[in-house]
Structure formats: structure tokens, C-alpha cells
């Protein structure tokens, strides 16, 4: 009976090397995700999911095979190793994959928590969600409310035949509230959520009735608001909107795997201007408010990568394979959703660096424009090969004579990211980075937790859609 991760990884490494692997990487994961959902006064779900298993990647004569199993007995593990080696050997005739060298490292990282959410009585957690949800349902104008409380504990180990032996345990907790208000024939949905890297102490130290009340009031106001007139606007974007824009529209294009396949608008542009000189963009493993990634899923240390420096493209994000093809090292950006996937290049905490203006100064001189607010944003989509993006934004405000004025709903922004970043003419000093236990970034069918954000910025030309 195999009982420890050391026994599992030793077995996997030894067996794979014995039957001909040139390089071996083993991932082990145990994860718990719990979400409590109240929907219109009814407990819609108390759902708990676990992930546990092992993935093994082998390199044989330049061919790569990755095999995973959730069965952690000797027979299944040895069978998976044999299959991985067999696949890799077979693929070696189609080309040669190489991994850049990395520093051997041994470490374990754990997020400090004061109160373990696992130990909180389910009745207490359910009671809180119920109170918030049923309170909102009583308000005039509110037609539907979903309230959620979630936490996750994700423990991972990465061990390789070239000296990597790292592990980590990250705990997240979060609270989310979505209200639908109806006014006449118009129904409008507004959402907000807060996520904390740490324990249940975050839930205990916040007033969630007040949090929900703000969402409810905004939903009621939004249902009575108009949509903006479609066209091109001078726009001020808040922290969340900037984070979303940078992550989706620029961040994905800076992922090296897209660059090497010609799928990024940024390929061949290192050293060239891609944004206003006010823009510096960073991907960093540990950032206050973000999702901690001290090591990626290849066991490479994730430090600070300056992707854009004063508007000039400086570096792409990479993994051990992509770094080799780009002719540079790995930046520690190889990440997986869980052991059923092999890694792809992903962002960690991706943000715009702040400058020194106040938020008010960004609005100065705008006679007619829009204040884009990211709270409750549904998300965005981008074609990184040409830099086209589109985002559905939460309730925002028309700007008149330097002041945010009437609320507008149904705001969608779109454009080309390079054109948009080139037209940034002011950056504020209020850096804010956030993460989200209710969602993450999707790519190649995988979702990973990320951090995103920045300061407020002003853009001279932004295409806004509406009715």
C-alpha cells in the first residue's frame, strides 16, 4: 500500500527511468472544493468535490507522453508509466522536444490560515448564506438572487528527475452575490464577489449583508438605466476593468506557446513599442491580493517577469519547452488545472504597474466619455492572433464635464489591444490585484486561478456597443 507522496514519486521516477525515460516529471494533487448555493431563498446545493491523482510526463528520445491516473495503487501507476514511455517513444519519430535546464529546487509553500473553513460547522456556513439570500429576496424590485460561499484547498507536489521537489498548499475562501432586478420589461443582473487567500477568518470579519445590499441596490438602479449609444468614447477604466483587459487581450498574446505557433499578434515584436510609454506590465508569482504561485507546475520558481517596460515589449511568458523554442529560459508559467492535463503556458498574477496620478485627475478634461467599471463583469474573449477583444462590462457611467453621471447597462467594449494600449494617456496610482475562487482563466479546456488588476487608466478611444 502506497501511503505518502514520497513513496508515490519515488516509485514513478524509478520505474520510468528504468524503462528508458530520459526525463521524468511527476505531479500529485489533492484538492477539495466546497460551494454552498442559495437560490431565491432555497438551498440549491451543498456540493463538495475532490481531486486526487497522479500525472507523469516522460521524455524519450525527444518524444513526450503524459499519462494520468486517479487510481493510486502500484499496478495503475506502473501501468501509466509504461504507457507514457511507450507513447513518448512512438512520438519521437515526429520531432524532437527539448526542455531548458532549470535550477534544482526543494521547497514547500503553504498559505497561512487562521480558521480552517473545513472545520466550520456546515450549519454555520449555510446559515450565513441563507440569511444574506433571504434578506435580499425581500427587497422591492429584486426578482431573483443567488448567493454563494465557497472555499478550496489545493495541495500539489511536483518532482522531476533533474532535481525539482516542490509542493504547495493554497487555501481560498470567497463570497458571491448575484441579484436580478426587473423594471418594466427590463431585467438586469448584477454580480459581485470577494475572494481571500487564506482562511474562514475573512468570512467572519466582513459584513456580507452590507455587501449584498450594495449589489441589490445597484441591480435595481441598473434595471432602470439605459444602454449607452454605440460609438467610440474617451474612457476611464477602473482597476478590475484594466485587469480584465490586460489579462485577456494582452496577457494571452504574451503567452509564449501562442507566440511560437504564430498565434500571437506580439510575435517578433520584442524590443518594439506595443503600448503607450505609460504602460508597464508585469506577471508575478506572489502579489498582495492575487493568487499565489511560488512555483509553476514544472517546479520552476515564478518570480517577477516584466512583459512590457515603458511601452516596449520586453519578454514573453514561457515554460521549459516554450522557453527552449524561444531561445530563453522558463519564466515559471507552466500551469495545469489538475492532474488530468499536461501544462500549458498561463499567466499567474498579471497587472499594470501604477504611476502617480489621482483617480480624479484621470477624469479632468473629459467633456463626454464613459467610466468603465469592472465589478460584475461577465468576462471577455480575445483573438490573440490579431489582438481583437470584446468584454461584457458591469454597470458603468457616462462621463460629462469631468464627472461620472448617469448609470448605463449592457456595456460591451471591443477593439484591438495594441491600438487601445497605444491610446492610454493617463495612469493612476491606485494598484489593486484580485483573484476569484468562483472562476478563473480558461485556455485549452483548462481553468486555472489567476490574479489580475492594475490602477485606473484613461484611454482616448474605446469602441462601446449598446442598443
Amino acid at each position: 500500500m502506497i501511503t505518502t507522496y514520497e513513496e508515490l514519486t519515488s516509485l514513478a521516477l524509478e520505474e520510468a527511468l528504468k524503462i528508458g525515460a530520459n526525463h521524468v516529471l511527476v505531479r500529485i494533487q489533492e484538492k477539495l472544493y466546497e460551494v454552498i448555493t442559495y437560490d431565491c431563498g432555497v438551498l440549491k446545493g451543498y456540493s463538495v468535490g475532490r481531486v486526487s491523482g497522479l500525472g507523469i510526463r516522460v521524455l524519450v528520445n525527444g518524444g513526450v507522453g503524459y499519462v494520468y491516473t486517479t487510481s493510486l495503487n502500484r499496478e495503475s501507476i506502473v501501468g501509466s508509466i509504461k504507457r507514457a514511455v511507450s507513447i513518448a517513444r512512438s512520438l519521437s519519430r515526429y520531432g524532437r522536444i527539448e526542455y531548458v535546464d532549470i535550477k534544482p529546487v526543494k521547497d514547500f509553500f503553504k498559505v497561512d490560515i487562521k480558521v480552517d473553513p473545513y472545520n466550520i460547522d456546515p450549519e454555520v456556513k449555510v446559515g450565513l448564506v441563507k440569511e444574506v439570500n433571504t434578506s435580499s429576496m425581500k427587497k422591492d424590485g429584486i426578482k431573483s438572487v443567488i448567493t454563494r460561499l465557497a472555499y478550496e484547498v489545493d495541495r500539489r507536489y511536483v518532482v522531476s528527475s533533474d532535481g525539482v521537489n516542490v509542493g504547495g498548499e493554497v487555501t481560498l475562501v470567497g463570497f458571491s452575490h448575484t441579484a436580478v432586478a426587473k423594471y418594466g420589461m427590463t431585467s438586469e443582473k448584477v454580480s459581485n464577489s470577494k475572494t481571500f487567500v487564506g482562511g474562514y477568518e475573512f468570512i467572519e470579519s466582513n459584513d456580507w449583508l452590507l455587501f449584498a445590499d450594495e449589489v441589490d441596490k445597484l441591480a435595481i438602479k441598473t434595471s432602470q438605466a439605459k444602454t449607452p449609444t454605440p460609438g467610440t468614447y474617451v474612457a476611464v477604466l477602473d482597476n478590475e476593468a484594466v485587469g480584465l483587459l490586460i489579462h485577456e487581450a494582452f496577457g494571452h498574446a504574451s503567452e509564449g506557446d501562442l507566440v511560437i505557433t504564430g498565434s500571437s499578434v506580439l510575435r517578433g515584436m520584442v524590443g518594439e513599442r506595443v503600448a503607450s510609454e505609460l504602460i508597464t506590465i508585469v506577471d508575478e508569482g506572489i502579489v498582495n491580493g492575487g493568487y499565489p504561485v511560488p512555483y509553476d507546475d514544472e517546479g520552476v520558481s515564478k518570480g517577477r517577469t516584466v512583459v512590457v517596460k515603458d511601452g516596449i515589449l520586453n519578454e514573453f511568458l514561457s515554460s521549459r519547452y516554450v522557453g527552449g523554442r524561444l531561445g530563453c529560459g522558463s519564466t515559471g508559467n507552466a500551469r495545469v488545472q489538475d492532474i488530468t492535463y499536461d501544462s500549458v503556458v498561463r499567466q499567474t498574477n498579471y497587472y499594470v504597474e501604477p504611476k502617480d496620478l489621482s483617480i480624479d485627475e484621470l477624469f479632468d478634461g473629459i467633456s463626454y466619455g464613459i467610466y468603465i467599471v469592472g465589478r460584475g463583469t461577465s468576462g471577455g474573449e480575445v483573438d490573440p492572433s490579431i489582438g481583437t477583444y470584446t468584454f461584457s462590462i458591469g454597470p458603468s457611467y457616462i462621463v460629462r464635464d469631468g464627472e461620472p453621471t448617469e448609470l448605463v447597462r449592457g456595456v460591451v467594449v471591443s477593439g484591438n489591444i495594441l491600438e487601445t494600449l497605444m491610446s492610454v494617456d493617463a495612469v493612476a496610482k491606485d494598484l489593486k490585484v484580485i483573484t476569484n475562487v468562483f472562476g478563473g482563466c480558461g485556455k485549452d479546456g483548462q481553468t486555472v486561478r489567476v490574479g489580475f488588476g492594475g490602477p485606473h487608466i484613461r484611454v482616448r478611444k474605446l469602441v462601446v456597443g449598446g442598443l
Binding site: 437560490d39 451543498y46 468535490g49 513526450v64 503524459y66 460547522d121 504564430g262 471577455g380 442598443l467
Partner: protein
Amino acid sequence: MFYDIIERSLKLCSRYGFNEFEVYVVDDVSTEVLGSDKGVERVVSGEEFLVGIRVVMGRKVCVYGGMVSRVEDVDVLVNSAFKIVRTLPEDREWVSLPKKLGSSVVEGIVDVGIKDLELDKYVELVNYMIKKPKDIDRRAFTTNTSIYLTYVRRVITNSYGGVVEDEKTRASISVNVKVVDGSDESGYSESYSASNLSRFNPDELVVKAVEGAVRGLRSRRVNTGSYEVVLMPRVFTSLINSLIAPALCADQVQRGRSPLKGMLGFKVFSENITIVDDGTYPGMLGSKRFDDEGIPTKRKVLIDKGMLMNYLYDTYTANIDSKESTGNAFRPTPHTVPKPWISNIIVDRGNYDLDTIVRELRNGLVIYDVIGMWLSNPVSGLLNATVANAVYVDRGEVKHSVKGVVITGDVYDLLKTDEVVLTSNKEVLGRYEVPAIYIPRISIAGEG
């Protein structure tokens, strides 16, 4: 291990004295072959056992589960569910788990070529799709391509004694092509998703991807304004999936999050639009013998000549409305709470030839691809999407390609007029079989 998990789960659940319980076990064997412009890059393969335990005490309900590494892991799942369920408040809308499980006869859902995987064959196929674009257009190359094949066994059983079991295969194949012409470039992707490979033609897939990429060259925005549009099947599918399908689900209707609430028997779309949900349709991606709580799948008309006929139900929402489940319970994984969702959506074909419709456009766009349609709001019906691949048509003549403009509108206004028409040709795209659709007026945000 598969049957050991089921047996142990049943024994444990019986011992704990739940009023009702359900055990859902999945054995998923998947293989993915990935390639890029540099060749076949890697194969990812594996097997996972997933278990979902739904337990009920009185009207208290809890779902617990996840991946299982050993048969003994089931003990933890059932014990945890037991500990939690006792502390929960009652769900006043809870009636019961399904009391009668069953299966429909569905053809074409197990492809032996996927089940008994010959890996080398699919590696060769990926290699072929990497090289093929150059033969079609020397400016074109594959940026990446993949073949994802899955064989799944499922068993659902519950405390009312029924047991259903099935097996199913799935294939998802995609190719992304880029065309570079001087300083201009354009990309386009095509994909195939179904329960079997009987309709899969790699040449056709690559040709369509190359054609799409070439069509996107030298694109520019059109001016902001109102235009006629033709949404090609891929875009119409995306519109239905993002805006109409959620509004047809009973949970959204019951919670006041659907514009179709209270509209049964009323005309909600053009009389030219008929939409059917059919989980028994042979070989489609969403075809299966029973839904994710063991109710037989079936065919049902949702929109008949523009009139709303039915919502989609799982057992929970059906009980609330005193109806039968329509066999549309959906769970992304066995340990999530079921909710209604589409199986396969079939839209009736129209009488119009696409070329004829395009020739009659005065000032319109033919839209082949969009991004961000999923960001539209199904609660309000507000459509928003950015055009990624389209052509502008002026008095019947294609003038230039278009991308980067935003289409917006209230989908219930856009599709209500009887001026809306559908083409006679349809495409099968995963869970959807749809024609192209002509919409006489839509708002576009572009230049100016």
C-alpha cells in the same frame, strides 16, 4: 474497480439510513493528441474514476463526490455527506429523487475506433492536418491542431431500486489555420465534435479552415449603424447557446431569470423558427441513453413555428411545476447538483438558398464567426458579440472582409419579425444542427 465502487457506495448509503440516496459513477478514459506548426508535440492520456453521492434526509439534500483513487475513498465521501446533510435546512421544494430510471435506444454513440484506440492512426491524422494547409494555399499553415477522444462508462442507481448503465464515445477535433499575405494575416479555426467519427473528413475540415482564414484578409470595420445580417450556422448556434438555451431551462424560468417566463403558448419568435431538443438523435455530441440522473432521453419540440411549447426539465424542476422530467438533467461532473440543460438542439431548415439571400442583401454583413457571444445576457435577452470573420455586402456584391465590430440587440426583437428567414442547408456543430439565418436589422458599433 468500477463495479466495486458502485457496490460499496450502495452498501454504505443503505447502512447510514438516508431517506433517499443516489450513486453516480463514471469511468472516463481519454486521449488527446496535440500538434503545432512544428509537428506532433505530445499525447496526453489517462483514466479517471468519478463518483457523485446525492443523499437526502427528510428534505435535506447534499451532493458529495469527486475523483476516487481507491475503492475505500467511497467511505470518506458517504461519511462526509452524512455529516453535512444532517445540519442543512430543509429544501421546501424538494419532492424526491427520480422514482423510475430508464434508457432510450440511441444509435451511433459508441465508436469502436475510439473505444479500442489505435493511437498511431490518430497521431498520423494530426500530422496530416499539420501539413495539409500548404497544399491548399501556400500562404497557409496550421498553428495548432488536436484530436481529443473519450470513452465513458456511466452507472446511475438510487434508493428506489433502478439501475441504468451505458457507454459512450466522444470525438473533438480542431484545426487552427493562419494565412500570411505580405504584412496582412488572418486566422480561422474549424472543429468536429460528435459521438462518433462517421462524418469526420479531415480534408473538408482543413479546407474550410483555410477558406475562413483567407476570407479574413484585408479586413476593416464598417461604420456604426443598422445593417441586415446573415448569421452563418456557427454564429446562430452560438446565439442559441448563449441566449435562448438558458432561457428555455426550467430552473431559470422558475427563478425569474428568463424572458420566456409565462410565455408558454405564445409567439416568441418568427413563425419561420422551429427548435427541437432531442437527446436520442443518432451520433450527435449530446446524444445518450439517459440523462445525468437516469431519466431516458427523448425528443421534444421547444419552439413550434415561433410559439413556445416546452421548457427543459430535470426531476427537481419538474416536480416544482408538477410535470415529468424531459430527460434534460445535466451535471458537468457527477458530484455537482443536476440542473436542466439542452441535449441536442435541432433547428428546422428554411426554404432559402444562402446564395440567393446574399444576392438580395442591400447593405449587410454575412457573419461567419464571432467572439464573446457567451457574454450576452440571457436574463435580459441582450445580445452582444464582436465580429471575428465576416464580409460586407453592398447591393448583392461582396465588398470586403470585416472584423472588430460589435453586433448588439434584443434577441426577442431581432428574431420575432417574420422577415427572419432560414436557409435550406444545415450544419451539424457538436450539440447543434442548424441552418444559417437572415435578420433584417441589427445594430452594429464600428467606425465613428
